[in-house]
Structure formats: structure tokens, C-alpha cells
């Protein structure tokens, strides 16, 4: 589904990702872990098409297409979804209205009929229960005045509505209490199917107790320095990130 080859990414003239290779197949959950500044959020953002993240070298193939050549909205409509680390507050735009616009943009792209207000509210009702989204959150402006937990739940709620093929969760667990974390994990696990892939970016192992990954990759200083199964996350939890720093140092000739 996704193939990243020697991806290098520059932000503000600084090379953050220094050559990433990663292959994600349908049905897989990949966790990307790493210390602060290792480049894990940069990877998530460049995949979603954030304009400030510029890929200088390498390529990313999504279902065989050049992902980096697609506009962010095109990626979204084609099934790439990123749950934001810091969801944006949008004053004056009603959350339900926004969700409907996003869903219909995708349906239109897929050649499906757009949902009317009634059909949409019916759909929302079903999905809202799972993530503990109440009417109040739907009628307020997008993320405005939402608590940290509400914002993250709203992200996952959007994911369940938009049913992406590839979901990227950028530190969705950061700042969540254990109940909110469980709610979010339940939402994600309900979405796991053989057709859908996840990239879960996280700083902490804790999330991976609830969303069990198939693969864990450790990022340090812009490179994947170690890959393994879910047990790698536990190893990181025990040892911390310190021991990785040495591994990330480029070998000097």
C-alpha cells in the first residue's frame, strides 16, 4: 500500500529525515517510536502533504502512485488520513457541517451520491456512540474550546467517518488520560481490517498496550535505527531511548 524509499525531508533549511525506507502493507499496523526531535512527526506530516515539509530526495508510493506529487486534499480523498497531533481550532465552522463537507468531498470523489442532512445525522449517531462524541461536540465550532481529549476523540471520529485506507496517527495518545486513551484505542481497533493500514506515531509505549502493532520502528536523528515486532516497544520502555543515540550516529569514514 505504501512504500517509502530513501525519503529525505527538509524543514526550514534543516534536514530532518535523512533517508527513510519503510513498506506498509494493507492490514498492517506499524508503530513509529522515537525520542523528541527524531523526526517521527515530520514523517507523519510529509505523508499528509503539509506545505512546510519538503521532500528533497527519495520517493513515496501510495498504491503505486507518487504520493508526494498529490495535493493534500487529493491524498485525503484517495484514502490517506492523518489524525493531527495538534488539531486545529476553526472558529465559525460548525463541527457537524465540517464533517459533512469532508465526507461529501470524499463521496463525490468516489462517484457516490452526497449525503443529505438527514442521512448524515443518522450516520453520525451510529459512529458517535463508539467514541463518546456527544451532540454538544457536534454543534460547536471545529475543535474550538475542546479539551485535549475531546480534540483527539474528534480526530478519531473523523477517521471512522471517512474510512481511510491508510490512517496515520500523529501522537494521538499524547496528553490523554487512561480513559480517553482506551476510548481512542477502541475506535482505532474497530477500524482494523485486512484492507486498511495504520501508521501509529507515538512517543510512549503505553498506547501500544491497547493498539497492538505488527511492526515497531525506532526513529532516531532522522533515520530508522531499529525495526522489530511488538516486543521492541517493550524493550524501549525498559531501556529508554538513550541507548539508541549511539546507533544513530553516522559512521565516519
Amino acid at each position: 500500500m505504501l512504500e517509502i524509499k530513501n525519503l529525505q525531508v527538509r524543514v526550514d533549511d534543516q534536514l530532518i529525515l535523512k533517508g527513510i525506507d519503510l513498506k506498509v502493507n494493507a492490514g498492517e499496523v506499524h508503530a513509529i517510536m522515537g525520542p523528541n526531535g527524531s523526526g517521527k512527526s515530520t514523517l507523519a506530516r510529509v505523508l499528509s502533504g503539509h506545505p512546510e515539509y519538503e521532500a528533497t530526495t527519495g520517493e513515496v508510493l501510495y498504491e503505486g502512485r507518487d504520493l508526494l506529487d498529490m495535493d493534500p486534499d487529493e491524498r485525503a480523498r484517495d484514502g490517506v488520513f492523518m489524525a493531527f497531533q495538534y488539531p486545529v481550532e476553526i472558529a465559525g465552522v460548525n463541527n457537524a457541517y465540517f464533517l459533512k463537507a469532508a465526507l461529501n468531498a470524499k463521496r463525490k470523489h468516489l462517484g457516490l451520491e452526497e449525503l443529505d442532512a438527514m442521512e448524515f445525522m443518522q450516520l453520525i449517531k451510529e459512529k458517535a456512540k463508539l467514541l463518546d462524541i456527544d451532540q454538544n461536540m457536534l454543534s460547536r465550532a471545529v475543535n474550538e474550546g475542546f479539551s485535549g481529549g475531546e480534540k483527539k476523540r474528534n480526530e478519531i471520529f473523523q477517521m471512522t467517518l471517512l474510512e481511510p485506507k491508510l490512517a496515520i496517527l500523529d501522537e494521538t495518545d499524547s496528553g490523554l488520560d487512561i480513559d480517553a486513551l482506551k476510548t481512542v484505542a477502541t475506535g482505532v481497533n474497530a477500524m482494523r481490517t485486512p484492507e486498511r493500514a495504520f501508521i501509529v506515531v507515538t512517543h510512549y509505549q503505553r498506547l501500544l498496550d491497547y493498539i497492538i502493532p505488527d511492526f515497531v520502528h525506532v526513529l532516531s536523528q532522522g533515520r530508522i535505527v531499529k525495526s522489530g515486532g511488538k516486543e521492541l516497544a517493550l524493550e524501549l520502555e525498559r531501556k529508554g531511548y538513550g541507548w539508541l543515540e549511539a546507533a544513530a550516529e553516522p559512521v565516519k569514514a
Binding site: 502533504g49 486534499d73 485525503a76 488539531p87 486545529v88 472558529a91 465559525g92 468531498a105 471517512l162
Partner: protein, 444 residues
């Protein structure tokens, strides 16, 4: 306020030919207006209050007082914003009984021509007309006063609650022949809301065609004790029009006055609002939304004068500027020594769609009491990039995302309009204008 005397000369000559007749107090009022105007002339950019707005284009044009032009009820249709047929239509400064609909109002309610009210209700009119709209230091108000002749008179008796909105439409028919001098009118609206009364009043200014004309309007609003007045001003003057207007509000104890100003037209717009909260517990809301493109200029000056204690005031002005448009916002809040427990909140926001659009904004707080809460904030800028990206990351195209954000920006003011047909008309007019501006932007 000095200027080349020869430039003012035609104006002084015009003022000499001001309307005559009527009761003595009215003639005296006109005379005083004329004398003040001759002394003051027009403001220049050396005046602090007019620093960013030059009116030399008005001063140097020889406008002629407009005779009542032709305007049909079919033409009027597009500008009537209420379901109910309660409207006054003033064409080129003259009341039009044919186009106006004033029946079915509660007994004692006056809704008609100012000129007739001067005759029929001289005392009530004399008591307030020209009393709020101070013209001692204001050239435009002095000029309007000198030309005082007709306009609209609205009087709501004590305790009357009007469930239909009252609309006053000021029409400028412009000048059909390009050979003759451009026209001017000096319309006046006097609104007296009795104690405990409740009303909604819509002032609409519209123009026909693309000719230059000059509208110099003055509105006086007296809000009695415990009265509620919900006021709207919609300005859709022609693209070459000059629109200068001032509104003067006096709010008595526990009165509630709110005004929503929508500026969609004219080449040059200057709106002054003066609201005096002159009784404990009086509350004032001033909201505004303006749209400017091309080389248009929109200048909003507001003053809220907290004269007594326990008065809250709320103010939000928002502008959307494209092309090389310019805007000015100056929001003055005065808190007098006696006005303890004042709670004043002012917000000014502008969205600049192009690099060439400019806004000059200034909050001005003059606080003489010590136990008060006054906040003000200004935010000027482009659309929020993070919000744009967020929407795009959910599948909306750049253009869809941008339009959604701009509509949301305007929506905050539009949503406060309590007259549903007016709100819908404003939405469609505003969005249509925005769509044209944005299409132009995208083509560039």
C-alpha cells in the same frame, strides 16, 4: 480645517440656496447648520479623525441637490428585506408615498415622512431633531442640517412592542444624463423609541446605476427607558457613490440598543456612530461587517460614551478586503467618572485577501472611572494557514477550504441578524460579491 477658499466657494453658494420655510425653529436650525458649515468646511487629512480618509473628491465636485428621480416599485423589490410590507421609501431625499407602506401599525406609532411630521407633530420633532447630531465641530453634519428638508420619522409609543420590522429605504437614483452635474442628498432619520417599547429598524441605502453621487446621511435615535431597539444599516450604494453618514444614539436607563452595520457598496464610505449610554444599566451593541474591493475605501468610526454606571457595551467590527481596498476602524470608548462597573468589550478583525489591501485600525480608550472592565483586541491578517491545511487534509480543495473560512469569518456577524429575510438577503448578496472578488483573485 482650512482649505482653499475657492474650493469651498461653490459649496457655500449651494448652502445659500438651502431649503426654506416650515416652522421657525426648523429654519433656525438650518441657518445654524449653514453657518457652521461655512465656518468649518470639509475635514482634511490633517484632522486626526480624518487622517486616513480624504474627502477632497467630494469637496472638489459640484454636486447639485437632487430632485426626486424616477424609481419604480419593481426596482424597489430587490431591496426590501422584510416579509411585512412596512417600509418608508425616500427617493433622492424626498419621501415617496407611492412606494411606502405604513398601514397596520399599532395606534400611536408614527412611521412616515419627516417633512409631514414637522407639520403634524412639530413639538416631538423639535424636541429631538438636531439635538443629538451635534454639528458644532462636524462639517458633514452641519451640511446635512443646513439642507434639512425631508427624511424619515419613526416614533414608537411607550410600551408598544412591534413584531414587524420597519424598513427605511433611501434610494439615490443618480443622474441619468452624464452631461449634467452629479447629485447629492442629505437624508435624515429620526427614531424615537418610547419607554418599554420594542422595535427593529432597518436602514437601507441603495443606488441605481454607476454614476457618482453623494449621500450625506444623519440618523438620530432616542431610546427611552427600558426600550429595546435592534437597528440595522445596509449600505449598497453604487460603485461610484460617496457615502458619508453619522448615527447618534441616546440610550436612557436600562435601554438596550444594538446596531448591525453592513457596508457592501460605494466608492468611499465613512460611517460615524456615537452612542451615549446615559442611564444606569443601558446596554449597547455595535457590530459591523464590511466588504471592500477595487480601490474602495471603508472608514468606520465609532464612539461609545459610558456616561453612567453599570452599562455593558459590546462591539465587533469585521472587514474583508481585496484588491487595493482600504479600510479604517477607529473605536473610541469613553468611560466617564461616574460610569463605575462599566463593562466594555471591543473587537476589530480584518481579513486581507491581497497584499495591496490596507487597514488602519485604532482602539481609543478614555477611562476616567476606576472600577471598570474594558477590553479591546484587533486582529488583522490573511487566512489561517493551519486551518486551511487542516480542511485540505480532510479532502476539501484549497478553494473550498478558503471559501468556507471566509464565510465563517463573515458568519459571526451575519448570524446575529435577528430578521431572517434580511439575513438571507445579506448572505446571498455578500457571498455573491465575495465569489466575484475571489474569482478575480484566482484569475490574477
Amino acid at each position: 480645517m482650512t482649505q482653499l477658499a475657492d474650493k469651498l466657494q461653490p459649496w457655500i453658494a449651494a448652502v445659500e440656496e438651502r431649503p426654506q420655510g416650515g416652522p421657525r425653529w426648523l429654519q433656525e436650525l438650518r441657518d445654524r447648520g449653514a453657518a457652521r458649515f461655512s465656518a468649518l468646511g470639509f475635514p482634511t487629512t490633517r484632522d486626526e479623525e480624518w487622517r486616513y480618509t480624504s474627502v477632497s473628491a467630494i469637496a472638489s465636485t459640484e454636486f447639485r441637490l437632487a430632485a426626486q428621480g424616477r424609481f419604480t416599485s419593481a426596482e424597489l423589490e430587490g431591496f426590501v428585506y422584510t416579509d411585512a410590507a412596512t417600509r418608508l421609501v425616500i427617493v433622492d431625499g424626498h419621501f415617496s408615498p407611492e412606494l411606502s407602506r405604513t398601514s397596520g401599525l399599532p395606534a400611536g406609532t408614527r412611521f412616515g415622512s419627516l417633512a409631514s411630521a414637522v407639520v403634524e407633530e412639530g413639538d416631538a420633532v423639535a424636541r429631538f431633531l438636531g439635538q443629538l447630531a451635534e454639528f458644532g465641530s462636524r462639517g458633514f453634519s452641519a451640511l446635512n442640517t443646513a439642507f434639512l428638508n425631508d427624511g424619515a420619522f419613526v416614533k414608537i409609543p411607550d410600551g408598544v412592542v412591534l413584531d414587524v420590522p420597519l424598513q427605511v429605504v433611501f434610494v439615490s437614483t443618480g443622474n441619468s444624463s452624464s452631461m449634467s452635474a452629479p447629485r447629492m442628498s442629505h437624508p435624515r432619520l429620526l427614531l424615537i423609541a418610547g419607554e418599554r417599547s420594542q422595535s427593529r429598524v432597518i436602514e437601507t441605502y441603495v443606488g441605481v446605476g454607476d454614476n457618482a453621487y453623494f449621500t450625506n446621511a444623519v440618523t438620530e435615535v432616542v431610546v427611552g427607558e427600558n426600550a429595546v431597539v435592534d437597528h440595522y444599516k445596509v449600505q449598497e450604494d453604487g460603485s461610484q457613490a460617496f457615502h458619508v453618514a453619522s448615527m447618534h444614539v441616546h440610550a436612557a436607563r436600562s435601554a438596550t440598543f444594538s446596531s448591525h452595520s453592513f457596508t457592501l457598496g460605494a466608492k468611499l464610505t465613512r460611517n460615524d456612530v456615537f452612542a451615549v449610554l446615559d442611564g444606569e444599566g443601558a446596554e449597547c451593541t455595535l457590530n459591523g461587517l464590511y466588504l471592500a474591493d477595487g480601490d474602495r475605501l471603508v472608514d468606520n468610526h465609532t464612539t461609545i460614551d459610558h456616561a453612567k454606571a453599570h452599562c455593558p457595551s459590546h462591539e465587533i467590527y469585521k472587514g474583508i478586503l481585496g484588491g487595493k481596498a482600504r479600510a479604517v476602524f477607529n473605536g473610541k470608548i469613553i468611560v466617564r467618572q461616574d460610569a463605575q462597573k462599566t463593562d466594555a468589550k471591543q473587537t476589530n478583525r480584518a481579513l486581507l485577501l491581497t497584499d495591496d489591501a490596507v487597514i488602519n485600525t485604532k482602539p481609543q480608550l478614555e477611562i476616567f472611572a476606576d472600577d471598570v472592565k474594558c477590553t479591546h483586541g484587533a486582529a488583522i491578517g490573511q487566512l489561517d494557514d493551519d486551518a486551511l491545511f487542516y480542511l485540505q487534509a480532510r479532502g476539501l480543495t484549497f478553494f473550498e477550504a478558503r471559501d468556507l473560512l471566509i464565510h465563517a469569518f463573515a458568519g459571526e456577524i451575519l448570524d446575529r441578524v435577528q430578521v431572517e429575510p434580511l439575513k438571507q438577503a445579506l448572505e446571498s448578496e455578500l457571498y455573491a460579491q465575495l465569489a466575484r472578488d475571489l474569482a478575480e483573485l484566482d484569475a490574477a
